[in-house]
Structure formats: structure tokens, C-alpha cells
Subunit: 378 residues, 2 copies
């Protein structure tokens, strides 16, 4: 490990470890190989073109994004087939049309007749057709239709009759993040697959041509036993992994490729705690669950090699530029072991949220450290 | 209000209302005028030079920052006297020296003999002297020494004997954010003042020259009844205000000058909820308390004029690019009143955290909308 460079980089800094990421990417590729389904990686976690190319190697080349800013950034890097996997805001269709005219293949997502009507109306106004996936719901967490909802056929009909290209269906089982054992993950993967395949079948029975049957989340992608009927898998966090994934058993702690480098800036002798220069501007306030937790854990503290110092050594609290580090069991730290100026690495709860706080990162590869950019904004 | 522009700006977008900010700035200036103490505004909330100038008008011109990136940005905008109000990471002293040589007056903060020793050592190595404030603790929340702690005198001695300029003392009663009534806020302001004045007095008794006696947080600045012995007040969030400040009674909801513009992208008929295109990338995951809450409230939903639609209408959950909007009392929304494509504004819990997610904002001034930049990073 490049300890010398890590002792001089400006802190707080986002670090991504090349070897760990390579292992994670290999593992996903092996899973996809076994299942016989290609990957359309979600690039919202890495938000960097060089890392995206590592995720795309061996797959057809299409990717998934969550903002138009990501679409622009990756299109400029040569990734031209992009699924914009957030329910459509009709106000963005002018911007979508502009990108299509520049050569981007941008596939949109919607889940209701009302949105389909708004899209068809804008299509006419703009003189531009759109390609669309219908979003399905597998977990009640976000958007999407139930495959048995009559609105599925109605939405498809409105799109096709309105001259749009209905590409297929898409589902994201984000509820897999709440699964608590392997059996639940396997069952969630099968439920996600079945949701998509059932909807595609219903649409085909009604005469619609359905090419794309898109599923995915990192846990379901890695725990699926069968993906018959699925045409592509989307996953993103798998490349970096995080403490949420480790807590689900989806990875080990030492698979986590992303961390935040920080420096000890103070001691709190009365509580046996440290202050470090990574606050919520660096770590985010993400507690590692979409449902929220009662606070008190913003990251796991590691040495400069990236190895946890103790399972109980956490970032217990964050201010804007301060992190408060201590033991979750209430024991005081030996502060002499953490002198002012010592550097530490923090493993994040949620890779997307922590990485999202940074506009650049440092790529650690075989002892070399290279600065890399991240795309930001919308 | 510029409803036309708000119907076409790309979403999600950060909005700052000029009239509301002017009212907030006037109110703070009046409070400082009554108390007879100048303001050294904290610029970490606005992170924009034009807004900083509005906060600095009528004050001596010094400001407070929380990162070196802010220091660089505001220095380039002509604000040369900057207090870097985060406990010093010794690893940053080379960067501090470089800025001093470029003409920046950057005052540092530390709270321990060990940090003072590290600073003196780096000072010798770099051939550069530093100006330093000693941080005091008024609330047990973060860093800082108790005025009675012998380490106060020891730290001051190490700095002065080591050839540094001891500028004075600084305290931030962040604990004021947990005060629950006016009496508690008034008492906290007096406790903050007394902490700083007591420490300055102790240092002066030991023969140290103490010019700067710096206190501040928005609640204590606005609720202080007397600031005798204080040389400057620091506050930042007062310019924009937020729901935390409103919940403390420090401002009214319609004083909040910052909001996030978003668009309805989906309906959840089964729960009577909406999806909007502002997720945690836009709103942050800040629940409005440094101690954390049990989740379920990421912002208050308003119409395009910025008026809350109902006290119970909240962002109940966030994903990366999705916000889930519903009523906190569990009642279903009338979804017909929120068609796909309708635009809303969200009042944030914590102005610093939500604004911190954006690299630009839209300044709403008398019907005009102007794009403005925000400084980012470290």
C-alpha cells in the first residue's frame, strides 16, 4: 500500500482501491457468466469514466445512469447507450430530446398512464420520439407498477399508439437491502425476476414487442440462482461495495474498495474520543439504511492499510467538517495510540452517498496514487 | 415570485430568495448593533462571494470559513482576513503557509498542547509563523478546552514561546441547536460569552495579550442579551435559516430563504404518496439534528411560492434521486392535486447540508432568476 502518499494527500480524501475493485468486478462478471445474462452496469456509484470501462469490459456496452449530468459525462466518454433509470420528470423531455439529436441513445423510465400521456404530448411538441421502459414494483419501496395492474397494459398502449418505442420493462428490488439472510436474498432475486418476466409476458400476450427485461440490484444480482427470461442485469454498488453490503453478507469488509482518508485533529479525554477532519461533508449523513437508524454510526475506522482497528471503532457523530470517533461500546479509547496528525481510513456505510460528496478521488493501484474526477450535479 | 422561470429550471435546483435573505441579514445586523459587537460571518452556509458581501456589509470585513477551499475561493473574491474555524490538522500547515505567502491572513484554531507542539515544529520546518486562536468548549459537543483546564495556559505558552501569534480564544455553542425554549437560548448565549471571557481573562492574568474573543452560533447571536468582553460574533446559517432554526423559535418558516425546486415524477396510490425528483443527492440525509432522529422527515413541502402546503406534508424518505412525499399523519394525499410534472419547493432541515449538495444555485430577486456558483470541496 502507498503509505507514503497517503501521509501527504490533502484530507479528507476519497480513496478507491484498484485491487479490491477488480476483485468485486470479477465476482460480478462470474455471476453473470453463470447466469448467462449481460450486465448494464449502473454508473451512479463510480461516476468516473475509467472505472466505468472496467465495469463494462466483457458486456455489451450499455450502461445505467441516474441523472442527465451522468448521461452527458459518460456519453462524452464514448458510452452512448444509456438507461436513465429514474422515473421521468416530464419537464426534462426537452433536455432529453436535445441529447438524442446529439446521438445519445437514452432510454427513459415511467410507470403510469399520466406520465405516458405527458410524454406523448411532449413528443409531438418537440418532434422527437422517445424509447421507454415501463417501471415495475417488486418491493413497495419506490415507483413501479404491479405486473397485474391494468395500468401496465394501458401505459404500454398509450406509448405505442402515441408513436413511441416501448423497449420493455425494468424493475429494481431495492428492498433487497433489507434482506437479512441468504435465503431472503435468493427469494428476493427470484421475486424480482418473476415480476419482470410476468410483466413482459402480459405485455407480449397483448401484442406488444418486448425486447428489454431489465432487473437488478447488487444483492439480487449476486444471489440470483436463475435469470431465465431476463435480458440484462443492472447493478452499481458491487464495484465498490460498502458496509451495508457487508452487513447483508453480500461482501466481506475487506472487499470494500472505497474509503475516506482523514486526520486526527483533536482528543476528547473526558469521553475517550477523537475528532477527525472528516465530517458529513465527506462521509454524508447516510446511516446505511433507506429507513433510517437511530444514529451513531457514520463509518468504520481503519488503519492506513484499510484494515478495521476494532469492530467497535466507529464515527459516532458528524458535524460539517468534524467527525467524532469512539467506541460503540462506550469504552474509552487509548488516545496515545491516536496522536494529533495520525491518519485513518473510514469505511463508509453507503458507497454511493459517501462517494457522492466528492468531486474527485484518489485511485490506489499497486503503490501508485492517481487523482481522478467524478461527475457531479444533475 | 418568478413562477415562469421556476416552471422551466432544471430540477432538482437549489433556490435562494433575495428578499428573505435580506430580512435575515438585517435582523442579525440589528442584533449586533444593539450588542455593539461586529460580525465575522461564517461563509460555510452560503459558499458564494456575492452573498458573502451582503453578509459582510457594515462589518469589519473578516469572515469565517471551514475549509481551505472556502478560504481560497473567498480570498480570490477579495476577502483576505479569514478565520479557519475547524481544529487544525497538522498535515495542512504546508498548505496554510503557502496561502500566507500569497497574502491571505488565515487564523488557525487548536485546543491542545500536542497540537501546539506540532504547529511550532512545522512552523520551524516551513520558516513560517502562524496566527492561532485557542478553541474553548461550551457544550461538550465537539472540540475545545474548558477555561479552567490548565492545558489552556500550557497551550498558550507553547504557542508564544514557539514564536507564534496567539490571537485569542474562540468558542462555538453548537449545543444551542438543542435548546428548546427562549430561556435556554438566552442562558446558552450567556454561557458561551462567559466561557470565552473567562478564558481570555485567565490568559491575560498570565500575561498573554488577547485581542480576539470570538463567540457565536446563529441561535446564541440572536438571543444574546449582553456580549460584554466579546470582540466578534460568528454566525452563518442566519443568512438562509432552515427548519432547525424555525423549530428552535430562532426564525419563522417564512424566513427560510433556501429551498429545493423539484418535480412530481410518480404516484403511489396504495399509500397516497408522491415521488419527486429530489433525493438525498439534493436534500442530503440530514435529519436536522447532530444527534440523529429516527428518520422520516427530510424536508417540508411547499408550493411554488415557497408556502408550506400543510404542516404534515413532508419528504418522508429519500433514495439517491427520488424523494417520497407524503403526510406524516399517515393520511393519503389527494394525488389529483399533485399531477405528474407539478413543481414543488422543499424547505430543508439544515441549510448547510442541503445547500452543500449543490455546486450552483438560483438567486430569486424581484422576479428575476440568476444562476450563481457555490464553492465546493476542501
Amino acid at each position: 500500500m502507498p503509505q507514503t502518499e497517503l501521509s501527504t494527500l490533502p484530507t479528507p480524501a476519497l480513496l478507491i482501491d484498484a485491487q479490491r475493485m477488480a476483485g468485486n468486478v470479477d465476482r460480478m462478471n462470474q455471476a453473470m457468466g453463470r447466469l448467462g445474462v449481460p450486465l448494464r452496469p449502473h454508473l451512479k456509484t463510480v461516476k468516473n469514466a475509467a472505472l466505468a470501462r472496467r465495469m463494462l469490459a466483457g458486456h455489451p456496452g450499455g450502461a445505467t445512469v441516474s441523472t442527465l449530468a451522468e448521461a452527458d459525462y459518460f456519453f462524452a466518454a464514448g458510452i452512448e447507450d444509456l438507461t436513465y433509470a429514474v422515473g421521468l420528470a416530464p419537464g426534462k423531455l426537452g433536455e432529453v430530446a436535445r441529447r438524442q439529436r446529439a446521438g445519445m441513445k437514452l432510454t427513459l423510465l415511467l410507470d403510469a398512464p399520466a406520465t405516458a400521456r405527458a410524454l406523448v404530448e411532449e413528443s409531438k411538441r418537440l418532434g422527437e420520439r422517445f424509447q421507454v421502459l415501463i417501471e415495475l414494483d417488486a418491493d413497495g419501496e419506490r415507483g413501479g407498477l404491479d405486473p397485474a395492474d391494468p395500468a401496465l397494459i394501458e401505459t404500454a398502449g398509450l406509448l405505442v399508439e402515441g408513436g413511441q418505442h416501448l423497449a420493455g420493462v425494468l424493475v429494481h428490488a431495492g428492498g433487497s437491502y433489507a434482506c437479512r439472510d441468504e435465503a431472503a436474498l435468493i427469494a428476493m432475486a427470484e421475486h424480482e425476476r418473476r415480476t419482470a418476466v410476468d410483466a413482459a409476458q402480459r405485455l407480449r400476450q397483448e401484442g406488444f414487442l418486448i425486447d428489454t427485461v431489465s432487473v437488478g440490484s447488487t444483492p439480487t444480482a449476486l444471489f440470483a440462482r436463475d435469470l431465465s427470461g431476463v435480458s440484462e442485469v443492472r447493478a452499481g454498488v458491487y464495484a465498490l461495495m460498502d458496509r451495508v453490503m457487508a452487513s447483508l453478507g453480500v461482501c466481506a469488509l475487506d472487499d470494500i474498495a472505497v474509503s475516506v482518508l482523514t486526520e486526527v485533529i483533536g482528543h476528547r479525554p473526558e469521553s475517550g474520543e477523537l475528532l477527525v477532519d472528516a465530517g458529513w461533508t465527506a462521509l454524508s449523513r447516510d446511516l446505511g439504511s433507506t429507513r433510517g437508524r437511530s444514529a451513531g454510526d457514520y463509518g468504520l475506522v481503519c488503519d492506513l492499510e484499510g484494515a478495521p482497528l476494532a469492530p467497535e471503532l466507529l464515527v459516532l457523530g458528524t458535524h460539517q467538517e468534524h467527525g467524532r470517533v469512539g467506541r460503540s461500546d462506550g469504552q474509552a479509547l487509548d488516545l496515545d495510540a491516536f496522536p494529533i496528525g495520525r491518519r485513518l481510513r473510514i469505511l463508509p456505510n453507503h458507497a454511493c452517498a459517501t462517494a457522492g460528496q466528492f468531486e474527485r478521488f484518489w485511485w490506489l493501484d499497486q503503490g501508485q496514487v492517481e487523482a481522478m474526477e467524478r461527475c457531479r450535479g444533475w
